[in-house]
């Protein structure tokens, strides 16, 4: 079972929910935690994983053999990103604009274009220590896109490709901590998950961005429900919106200064506040009931490299 945790607005508590859901379920089933917020991964601050592997994430970019190139310009015509130009019979490439689709190499009539790897980030795997210091509690994966590189989705997909035994099966859970917003890196994180939790807060900003996120999740066709964090802080409009749209509100976490203080020092809410552990176990049961039994043979789009 893959559960993605997303939000429109940033700072609503995605990582808090994702991390503490993982901690609440640890020991009851295999738990994989995937930090897909590759532009600023922060779940490691709370889970303190011991990292064991680190792999470069690369994108295939064109390399032109000038002795074969006839300057026909086909490559420049097919490139949607204008990362390869044909100028007066000479081809030049802009690797930082290339999205790695491979179209130029595929359509070059002379076979003059090959693809070479360009490093855009890294994906790391390891384990977060279990309760009472067990060495292997939660399997942990995170990605980081290189600074200055504006291509998060391939790194997100690389993180998702490391999802282990829990993916697509009933016996475990893969928790995806998504980036905020509704753009391509979020879609890459949420698409193909079995359920999406949208974390919001009861404020005008929370509501505005929740509505955007709802549109996005409906578009990618993933069943979803809402978690209202900092409940009691603002107004009732998020709850009213969810009623109007028939969106289930699966959990409300009250606004509590002590929760914020725990988060701020990198603490684990479920250890300091056992009642939240019970709430998150209940949240898992509601997700489980909403998804129903899984078919294990479904291919998942999020698992492909391109």
């Amino acid at each position: 079972m893959i559960v993605s945790v997303a939000s429109g607005k940033g700072g609503t508590g995605k990582t808090t929910i994702a991390v503490n859901l993982a901690l609440a379920l640890e020991g009851t089933m295999p738990v994989d935690f995937l930090d897909c917020d590759v532009e600023e991964p922060n779940a490691h601050l709370f889970l303190h994983p011991v990292l064991e592997t680190s792999e470069r994430v690369t994108l295939p970019v064109p390399s032109v053999d000038e002795s074969k190139c006839t300057g026909c310009g086909t490559c420049a015509e097919v490139c949607a990103f204008h990362a390869i130009l044909s100028l007066g019979g000479r081809v030049i490439t802009f690797p930082e604009l290339c999205h790695g689709c491979g179209g130029c190499a595929r359509f070059c009539p002379e076979g003059a274009i090959s693809e070479v790897p360009r490093e855009i980030g890294v994906v790391e795997t390891g384990w977060a220590a279990g309760p009472a210091g067990q060495a292997r509690g939660i399997r942990f994966v995170q990605g980081r896109v290189n600074i200055g590189t504006a291509l998060a989705p391939p790194v997100v997909k690389a993180v998702r490709s490391k999802a282990g035994l829990g993916a697509g099966k009933d016996g475990g859970i893969v928790i995806i901590d998504s980036p905020p917003g509704t753009s391509c890196p979020v879609v890459a994180s949420v698409k193909g998950s079995d359920y999406c939790l949208l974390v919001t807060e009861p404020t005008p900003f929370g509501l505005n961005d929740l509505a955007l996120a709802v549109d996005m999740v409906r578009e990618v066709g993933v069943p979803f429900g809402v978690v209202i964090n900092r409940a009691g802080l603002g107004d009732d409009k998020v709850a009213a919106y969810c009623r109007q749209e028939s969106i289930p509100v699966l959990l409300e976490i009250p606004f509590n200064r002590r929760y914020a203080a725990c988060y701020a020092r990198g603490g684990q809410l479920v250890s300091d506040f056992p009642e939240l552990g019970d709430s998150l176990t209940g949240l898992w049961r509601r997700i489980r009931a909403a998804v129903g039994p899984l078919s294990e043979s479904l291919p998942r789009e999020g698992d492909t490299a391109r």
């Binding site: 420049a76 990103f81 204008h82 990362a83 130009l85 100028l87 007066g88 030049i92 802009f94 604009l97």
Partner: protein
């Protein structure tokens, strides 16, 4: 000889557009015959690669020089590879730009004058 000017409108009296990749239109002029033609710029709303797409367009149009306000690093590299000279000036109409070009009052620049994405979200 064909000269392109980045413009905010479609005729010689429209204001120059200071942006290269995301200018509203390109007005291409033959200074000898004074014939001009306006092309709306397809890369105005491109998610990326506006500079390189615009440079490709000017190369396909057989342009020899372009007068604009600023030029970014990718566009600069592409125009240089295409052998298109870049002239910059601040403000005025397309007609002003052509007069300044003919009078030799503006000079070419090599390299970028601004960083990537300079022309995004400013109107």
């Amino acid at each position: 000889m064909r000269i392109a000017v980045t413009a905010q409108g479609v005729d010689l009296d429209s204001a120059m557009d200071p942006r290269f990749g995301r200018c509203r239109s390109f007005i291409i002029v033959d200074p000898e015959s004074d014939k001009s033609e306006a092309f709306s710029n397809e890369s105005v709303t491109a998610s990326g690669g506006a500079g390189t797409q615009s440079a490709q367009f000017l190369a396909n149009q057989g342009v020899d020089a372009v007068v604009t306000g600023n030029i970014g690093p990718n566009a600069s590299r592409a125009l240089e590879a295409a052998g298109i000279k870049v002239y910059t000036m601040a403000g005025g109409t397309v007609r002003d730009a052509l007069q300044a070009y003919r009078a030799g009052k503006i000079s070419t620049v090599t390299g970028a004058t601004v960083d990537s994405h300079h022309g995004m979200g400013r109107r």
